[in-house]
Symmetry: C2
Subunit: 195 residues, 2 copies
Amino acid sequence: MAGPTNAERGRDVRERLLAAARELIGEIGWNAVSTRILAERAGVRSGLVHYHFASLQALLRQAATEAMRPMLEQAAELVAAAPSPGDAVEALLADIDRFTGTDPTSLLFVEAYLAATRDDLLRDQMHELVTDFRAALTAALARTGHPAPEAAATVLMAVVDGVLLHKGLDPQLSAGSLAPLLRRLADPEPNGANE
Amino acid sequence: MAGPTNAERGRDVRERLLAAARELIGEIGWNAVSTRILAERAGVRSGLVHYHFASLQALLRQAATEAMRPMLEQAAELVAAAPSPGDAVEALLADIDRFTGTDPTSLLFVEAYLAATRDDLLRDQMHELVTDFRAALTAALARTGHPAPEAAATVLMAVVDGVLLHKGLDPQLSAGSLAPLLRRLADPEPNGANE
DNA sequence: GCTATAGTTGGTCAATCGTCCAAGGCGATT
DNA sequence: AATCGCCTTGGACGATTGACCAACTATAGC
């Protein structure tokens, strides 16, 4: 019955701290996450925070990017698997309705966007995540010859984040209900001239 | 040479504090605005904050809503004055490009959205502002018989806020460049079936 | 002139903050 | 058993926080 080795316990502490940070960033806000609250949630002594991480900011940065990456990758798979661009839009919007705009996951994203405007390193890392996802979405939209797939992808991503923001104010708001309208953005042929 | 009356000076202090709050919320973040930083920016002693306002939160709440209301009202006039729904969309998006996503005004909005998820009173006030603006945008879109003007208005507002969020990561992003695509959302006739 | 009223000052209070560190614990290697 | 390296503990440090208050000043009304 060999107990956990010393290094294993260390890894566990790191993971607990990151998990606690993922929860707390959304719950109480990026700037309200303190070393002591963090350690308490993780079930760990507060002195460990600065042993395992260079600073509180570094911990929060890592927690945020590690939380967002798999979610964006999963969403990218979702749109890639859709049979048509219109279905990709629909699947993406339906996926958003898993979130209420006030849950820790939704708020983690918004908090991270905000923190990125004041942390150059975080901004670079998030920019990469967002760019990768936009590329995946652009590819999904371009399959049927969309005239401006990248612009459409940009719009859709803005809609997703914007809807999350607005859901926080109005829980009745549903992303899925906007899908019929947003299918227009996925169509290869635009809707004739405007005048 | 009658100097300012006592009540006038008090009103001036209140206005200075609110103006300082409007700047600082975006600059350093909602939770980082302290009574002392606020007072320093306003050129006022910190003891005055709790004389003129019930609490720091109440001051920030008032500053945020008073900053957002005129901007949303101006935007509502913009879309109401547009000759067609498509032009309303275009005007709205062009207006967004006045902001970079990292300026205090853009960030004030995002900070307020976030703060509203943790402050019921602020949420109610912002919900009213957003609802009023959506009504104005819906009316502008409905003028030519749009089949789902409210959904289109909801999408456009989400796009606006979402683009601001993304601009903070990528300054090259331009809302105006998305206008041609988003005009599709303003058209009264949808784009034929999808398959 | 005197008193009420509104505004202002400078400071206190307990609580919390991020960061750092000396000392000790503990599994692995020799 | 001794040593080495990673991990952990508990507390210290100065700084900052929101809130509050007694004393003081200045205007307004009588």
